[in-house]
């Protein structure tokens, strides 16, 4: 394979992994609560700032600060679901959606007020600039990010498929009343599911902090990207989100290499529209016939 193609493919996969994790959170929240979390991008930015503050404040590696970010975001997600969204769980979906949008603005503007709109960037000590392997060069921060994504995703799968609470979360997303009739407490299960979803986007954001300069509205671009990935994967389909994230990452990076960076968003969204025209429920979306 041509080295340039391989380089683009590798870069795309590494970034795509981070997208996948964030979109996994969004699709998980949708699956259980049947709402799109429009604060997902803003939560990601909160995760970035937690890493920034903890890392610079305590002088520790961002990869350790990531743990603080994960805990904070889980708590934030839990609280938002339990004390805000749950209160209007009987309201029409668009109202719940507006609530998450409101949360997004509050988070973003709080970050603006506290941290100013100035760009901030984080230097990671003892991390080489680029690793050269033959004709291919890899950003070690992206490599670490991908590794962490694999570990976190595996951990989330174990929780969802092997633990009692994880099975309850899946049961709720497949049939809410069926779960209720088996004694699942929707209020708590939803809050935990939202917490896990928020944790995903928080960790994704944390992993991007050593790669990108951060600013309070950075999450908006990721919000849309996560949304596109989750829809491509079939809203609520966990595997679909993971694979679609990688696809979007690769499309983006291929376009960047061969047509220029300004074309990548255009290509991603054009591909998105074309795929939806052919497959309206997403690449891995289930047809609605079997749903009850």
């Amino acid at each position: 394979m041509n080295a340039q193609v391989f380089q683009a493919l590798l870069d795309g996969l590494l970034m795509g992994g981070v997208y996948s994790l964030a979109a996994l959170g969004l699709t998980l929240i949708f699956g259980v609560m049947k709402i799109t979390n429009f604060a997902h991008g803003a939560m990601m930015t909160v995760g970035m700032y937690v890493v920034y503050v903890v890392s610079t404040g305590l002088g520790i590696s961002p990869y350790i600060a990531l743990i603080f970010s994960a805990i904070t975001l889980f708590a934030l997600g839990y609280i938002i679901q339990r004390f805000l969204i749950h209160r209007i769980s009987d309201a029409p979906t668009h109202n719940q959606l507006l609530l998450t949008l409101g949360v997004a603005y509050i988070l973003e503007n709080t970050l603006l007020a506290v941290f100013t709109p100035n760009y901030k960037s984080l230097e990671v000590e003892n991390l080489p600039g680029m690793i050269q392997i033959g004709a291919i060069s890899v950003n070690p921060a992206k490599l670490i990010a991908f590794g962490v994504v694999l570990v976190v995703t595996a951990a989330i799968y174990i929780v969802l498929y092997r633990t009692r609470i994880g099975k309850a979360i899946r049961a709720c997303s497949q049939n809410r009343e069926g779960a209720q009739l088996m004694g699942v407490v929707i209020k708590n299960t939803s809050a935990i599911a939202f917490g896990i979803g928020a944790l995903c986007t928080g960790i994704a954001g944390s992993l991007l902090t050593p790669i990108l300069s951060i600013y309070p509205t950075l999450g908006e671009t990721f919000q849309l990207k996560c949304f596109v990935i989750a829809i491509l994967g079939g809203m609520g389909n966990l595997w679909g989100a993971l694979i679609s994230g990688l696809i979007v990452g690769v499309v983006e990076s291929m376009t960047g290499y061969f047509a220029g960076g300004s074309w990548s968003d255009l290509t991603v969204y054009a591909a998105f529209i074309l795929i939806l025209l052919a497959k309206p429920s997403g690449l891995f979306g289930r047809s609605n016939r079997r749903e009850h």
Binding site: A168, A171, N175, G183, H292
Partner: protein, 234 residues
């Protein structure tokens, strides 16, 4: 054990359940019959707290559960097999059954209950790994009843268990319900398949437009000519 007193349920301005009182005794099979849209499903949903009530009381073993949450009703021992089954379609048969043992009251007895489910429905054993969404209606109904047994019911509510099933499968299902009842579980069953359910039940309530129009011994109700004509359209 279940004692409903003067229960009313409104849906908007419409009264769906109008002053309904009924009881289910220990070890009984009680049938709730009546034409489509008379409020049978609303009534059993109200017992399981899937919808609210407007006035009246529901007691279970003497305890007021009118304002309890759905999970508390489950923990008290009232388990429902709902209309449409409400299975977890993308989970395997085994996982669905395991979800039945989610309630605290059933956690310790998961293994022994699973064995019991497989003695009632031996067919399920070979389908353990299949996703429930891919099963036939009859197979799904077995999983739904099996899932409810996993929850250690004291009172089992079955809402239209024969809907969409072939006559043979329906017979099979009714035999299973009889067997479950013989093991000491009380049963409240709503049915449109009046003929068969009245043969199985001890007592019956006939609902008409949200009210109890008639109640009594199931055999007597089955013989009632007026009932056959007016309420059941037989």
């Amino acid at each position: 054990m279940l004692d409903i007193k003067n229960l009313c349920v409104n849906y908007g301005a419409v009264r769906i359940i109008d002053d309904v009182s009924m009881t289910v005794g220990d070890g009984e099979i009680v049938a709730l019959i009546g034409a489509n849209g008379t409020g049978k499903t609303t009534l059993v949903r109200a017992i399981s707290k899937l919808n609210g009530t407007d006035s009246g009381k529901i007691f279970f073993r003497g305890e007021d559960i009118t304002d309890a949450s759905a999970d508390k009703v489950v923990e008290a021992g009232i388990i429902q097999v709902p209309e449409g089954r409400k299975l977890f379609a993308q989970m395997s048969v085994r996982e669905n059954l395991e979800m039945g043992a989610f309630a605290k009251r059933a956690r310790g007895k998961e293994k022994e209950n699973l064995e019991y489910v497989y003695t009632v429905f031996p067919e399920l054993k070979s389908m353990e790994k299949m996703a429930c969404g891919n099963l036939s209606g009859g197979q799904q109904q077995m999983v739904a009843i099996g899932r409810s047994i996993m929850a250690c019911p004291e009172l089992l509510i079955l809402d239209e268990p024969s809907i969409g099933l072939s006559p043979i499968t329906t017979q099979h299902m009714f035999e299973a319900i009889r067997l479950i009842n013989k093991n000491g579980i009380s049963v409240l069953i709503t049915e449109q398949n009046v003929h068969d359910v009245l043969k199985m039940a001890n007592r019956a309530y006939v609902m008409q437009q949200g009210r109890i129009a008639m109640s009594g011994d199931a055999k007597e109700i089955a013989q009632n000519e007026e009932l056959k004509k007016i309420y059941l359209g037989l």
